[in-house]
């Protein structure tokens, strides 16, 4: 087997050194009646060529986003990632290193994480960020638990504009841990009155902007009311590129900002691996989940970086930890950070501007189709349209014409049939005028 350096001779010599006759002697602790002799229902090893063929055949059954006019978003976005990013994260020294527990020989990873934390803090307008979470959804659930710890309350108020999957994760995690969730109904119009749901038992208010339906939300009044009631504002985003163009949540009073970082540096990959961004105020840092990288000096006084504040973490603190998280999304965070470094502040603004312009153009084209209505007054690169008919069926018809047109709201909210005529549509920098025109023409045709 090409991955195994031991030869039969090596094995024999090693068994002799151990003083054992056969390798099975080393497995003697396994009860005899529970041993198996291999894996009977699985095939034998395959050549590299054969593995490529098997997986290549599966891959060929899928329609890649880059091969068609593509408008699917709803929490994961098709962006163009520079070739440099992928090259760098495939460097052996980044790809095949472990968590930097030995900082003296892990400064590469640690400095990248320190830079990442600073980038995330500045993007979100917060003071500190951690070294990443699994993704935006699990990060949101962790934010709620953190708010519970900070406020010593256990009821989260969750906006109807929060991504339905995120709402599901928050509900699961919060209720499993003994908390409660006050979940507002889906808010496709962007008109919900979340202020009314806040009271003195509220630990936190969870609001997404741009919302799942694309609406931009003014967080200031929500923060004010939350703070007046001793609650925290958890601000969520699923499209980090938006932060190049819209006011950061930190500037609007958010206490914890959490979001999905996939858009920068990371492929769509059918949903993972992605990278959760998590930022907060400095004073809350000891209740923060996840790894933190901090600056220090070495024995020679030279600047260096280490994992720090690990007394919050499970491997030290065990059942008193702030979270059970161990592995995070290190390599995805690295990709995020490299892409962000390449863009720079002005570059992200320009990218965001182009995303917005493309979405505005698309909204114009779709609105012009009789019977189609854009629900949004404001949006970034994604918005919701009402179509005369069943959105899910229309999406299937458009897929048949080679256009991936967006996400029907009911795919994520199956218990809300009243949303069946809504379609969430995104347009990023990868869409061309031709793509948008093809979408509009095909939609008009399908509806006509």
């Amino acid at each position: 087997m090409r991955y195994h350096p031991l030869t039969a001779d090596d094995r024999a010599a090693m068994l002799a050194a151990i003083g054992t006759g056969s390798v099975d002697d080393l497995f003697a602790a396994i009860p005899a009646d529970k041993r198996v002799d291999g894996l009977l229902n699985l095939p034998r090893g395959a050549t590299e060529l054969s593995v490529e063929r098997t997986l290549g055949r599966m891959a060929a059954k899928n329609v890649p986003a880059g091969s068609v006019p593509f408008f699917v978003g709803a929490g994961a976005y098709k962006h163009h990632v520079p070739a440099t990013v992928d090259h760098l994260i495939q460097r052996s020294e980044f790809l095949t290193a472990y968590t930097p527990y030995q900082p003296e020989v892990s400064q590469g990873t640690l400095q990248v994480l320190f830079e990442f934390q600073t980038q995330v803090a500045r993007l979100t307008g917060m003071e500190v960020a951690n070294a990443s979470m699994y993704d935006g959804s699990t990060g949101t659930a962790e934010a709620v638990l953190m708010a519970h710890r900070l406020t010593r309350r256990s009821k989260a108020v969750v906006s109807g504009g929060l991504h339905p999957h995120y709402r599901g994760v928050v509900r699961t995690v919060t209720t499993m841990s003994g908390g409660t969730v006050s979940d507002l109904p889906p808010d496709p119009e962007g008109t919900e009155d979340i202020l009314a749901a806040i009271d003195d038992t509220t630990s936190c208010v969870v609001v997404q902007s741009p919302s799942f339906y694309g609406h931009l939300v003014d967080l200031r009044p929500i923060a004010e009311k939350a703070h007046a009631h001793g609650a925290l504002l958890v601000a969520v985003f699923t499209e980090v590129v938006a932060l190049g163009l819209i006011e950061p949540p930190g500037a609007q009073g958010a206490d914890i900002v959490v979001g999905e970082g996939q858009s920068l540096g990371n492929a769509l990959s059918f949903g993972g691996p992605y990278v959760g961004l998590f930022a907060t105020r400095e004073k809350f840092v000891r209740q923060m989940p996840g790894r933190l990288c901090g600056e220090t000096v070495d024995a020679d006084g030279q600047r260096g970086f280490v994992l720090t504040l690990s007394t919050r973490e499970q491997h030290i603190r065990r059942d008193k930890a702030t979270s059970n998280i161990c592995t995070n999304a290190g390599l995805c965070a690295t990709a995020f950070s490299i892409h962000m470094s390449m863009l720079g502040g002005a570059g992200l603004e320009k990218l965001a501007r182009l995303n917005h312009a493309n979405a505005v153009k698309l909204a114009g084209l779709l609105t012009a189709i009789p019977g189609v209505e854009v629900l949004n007054d404001s949006f970034f690169n994604e918005f919701t349209i009402r179509v005369p008919g069943d959105a899910a069926a229309i999406v299937e018809q458009l897929a048949g014409r080679g256009i991936l047109a967006g996400v029907p709201a009911t795919r994520l909210e199956p218990r809300h049939p009243e949303l069946s005529d809504l379609l969430v549509v995104a347009s990023t920098e990868v869409n061309t005028d031709e793509d948008r025109a093809a979408f509009a023409a095909a939609l008009a045709e399908v509806l006509g």
């Binding site: 195994h4 350096p5 031991l6 390798v23 229902n41 699985l42 095939p43 034998r44 090893g45 490529e52 997986l55 599966m58 891959a59 329609v63 986003a65 440099t84 052996s92 020294e93 472990y98 968590t99 030995q102 900082p103 020989v105 892990s106 590469g108 990873t109 400095q111 990248v112 990443s132 699994y134 699990t138 599901g168 994760v169 499993m176 819209i246 949903g271 993972g272 691996p273 400095e282 600056e295 260096g304 280490v306 504040l309 491997h315 603190r317 059942d319 930890a321 979270s323 161990c326 592995t327 290190g330 470094s341 390449m342 863009l343 603004e349 320009k350 312009a357 299937e396 199956p414 218990r415």
Partner: protein, 495 residues
């Protein structure tokens, strides 16, 4: 070799990405536009390359040498897997595309799951957990849901002392009370100790097998039976599953739920701290409670992708959803690529070689280092304690740092907690005998030096590393977690 930070060399207006001009399209931001420019540095492409390539040279990596972190399983990461994960049909598909446009992706998830079930002998698998600890949460949530479905209220989870920290943390996060089980003298869990703690309040036991001392829990069947007899469930931490693939099946041992760290057992790269993937295999009893999404097979073998609890209704009662979308597809591709390449024969060989390598290291070192549980066969990792350093003035930490100067990454230190000054070595099956001999030689040399009284040299280590020993205490006392521009000269005094 100090590389400056991007904040010290980058400039806001500089960019390594050229972006098409947006033209004159109007804004529809509804007054939410940024009010201040985004203060982040940019680098051109050549500057980017230099910065990160130079930084990378300050890392140790498997591709550079043996990385014997016990319990972390740093094995070879085949580049075939990276190549496969980047096929546009896997990397460039969106989780919410119409299902008809991702049938190959669903097939891949199902196939990866099928291999896991064959290897573990379990009934069902939840693929969506994002990492091992997330899998623990998933499995324990299924247990909690199953208990609730039985109309019971059980609040206690038993966890051995030697467990990974994630086990008690997970249990606590799900609202359970953690009760610790001490290890017996030989490093394994005594079924009598378990029985003593079992009660109608006990929901589950969380047991790592092989355990973190590198030992197979020889009484695991008795423990499982006792747990089941008490109406509780058996959660297995599968972090060390890589030692026993093709040798025994957790399902046959009585396990009800077990997460599998794909990055450990099937070599998806760790990437300096992730991403991982932690699918959870479940017994018949727990299968109905698995979270959405999952793949459901009809009698005719056709696969249905079940994304919501509404859709699941009838055949299952999922406890909910634990992450957006469907899990770590990118990692599933890599893991399946590894499984296909190995096959049934190769997977068993990998376990055998991993165990052989660990026992070889043990045999070559046990005359100079100390084994807390004596000369018994170990599984994929060998645990030493610090008794061999007694009186030398050299600590486990010093010893580990000195290894860096010998060109090796240190082993896991001070874990598991059940042993004083633990040194946990996991060579993995990727190491050649020649490589192990070098490693053993270096360790023997260090032991000699420690015993020869070279304590100062140990305290000074590492010397041949990008940094000398770093002040972790200072870092924690006064955390600097983000870069701040230095105060301009001359203004410090004025403030």
């Amino acid at each position: 070799i100090a590389e400056p930070l991007i904040f010290e060399v980058g400039r806001r207006e500089v960019s390594g990405v050229d972006i098409e001009d947006a033209g004159e399209t109007p804004f529809r931001l509804g007054g939410h536009a940024r009010k201040t420019p985004l203060d982040l540095p940019g680098l051109t492409e050549p500057e980017t390359m230099r910065h990160y390539v130079r930084l990378s040279t300050q890392n140790y990596a498997i591709d550079l040498g043996l990385y014997p972190l016990g319990s972390c399983t740093m094995k070879h990461n085949p580049r075939l897997n990276e190549k496969m994960a980047r096929l546009p049909g896997f990397a460039d598909v969106h989780p919410l595309q119409p299902l008809g446009t991702v049938s190959g992706a669903i097939e891949l998830v199902a196939e990866c799951g099928r291999w896991l079930l064959e290897m573990t002998g379990m009934a069902s698998v939840a693929m969506s957990p994002k990492a091992g600890a997330h899998g623990e949460m998933c499995g324990m949530a299924a247990i909690k849901a199953a208990i609730k479905a039985r109309g019971e209220d059980r609040t206690i989870v038993l966890v051995p002392e030697s467990a990974h920290g994630t086990n008690p943390a997970t249990a606590a996060q799900l609202g359970f009370k953690v009760v610790s089980i001490p290890a017996r003298a030989d490093g394994t869990v005594d079924p009598e100790a378990v029985k003593a703690k079992l009660s109608p309040q006990v929901a589950a036991i969380m047991l790592t097998n092989p355990n973190t001392c590198g030992l197979f829990e020889r009484d695991i069947v008795a423990i499982a039976e006792a747990v089941h007899a008490a109406g509780a469930y058996f959660y297995a931490d599968g972090a060390n599953f890589n030692a026993i693939v093709g040798k025994t099946r957790p399902g046959d041992l009585g396990v009800d739920a077990m997460h599998i760290n794909l990055h450990k057992t099937f070599s998806t790269p760790h990437g300096g701290g992730g991403p991982g993937a932690g699918p959870v295999v479940l017994s018949d009893k727990l299968a109905p409670f698995a979270p959405v999404p999952f793949v459901r097979f009809a009698d005719d073998g056709s696969a249905e992708f079940v994304e919501t609890r509404k859709q699941a209704a009838g055949s299952a009662t999922p406890f909910g959803r634990i992450t957006a979308f469907h899990g770590q597809m990118g990692m599933f591709v890599r893991a399946l690529s590894y499984m296909l390449a190995h096959g049934a024969d190769g997977l068993r060989q990998a376990s055998e070689d991993a165990v052989l390598n660990a026992n070889y290291v043990k045999a070559q070192l046990m005359d100079v280092m100390t084994l807390p549980f004596g000369d018994v066969p170990v599984m994929h990792e060998v645990l030493f304690d610090d008794r061999f350093l007694e009186g030398t003035g050299v600590t486990t930490l010093d010893f580990a740092k000195a290894m860096i100067d010998e060109g090796f990454h240190p082993m896991t230190m001070y874990f598991p907690l059940v042993v004083h000054g633990a040194l946990l070595i996991e060579p993995t099956e990727s190491e050649s005998k020649a490589g192990l001999d070098q490693f053993v030689g270096a360790l023997r040399h260090l032991v000699e030096r420690a015993k020869a009284g070279e304590v100062e040299a140990f305290k000074a280590a590492p010397v041949f590393a990008p940094r000398r020993r770093l002040d972790e205490t200072a870092a924690a006392r006064n955390p600097r977690l983000a870069w701040r521009a230095p105060e301009p000269e001359g203004r410090v005094a004025a403030e």
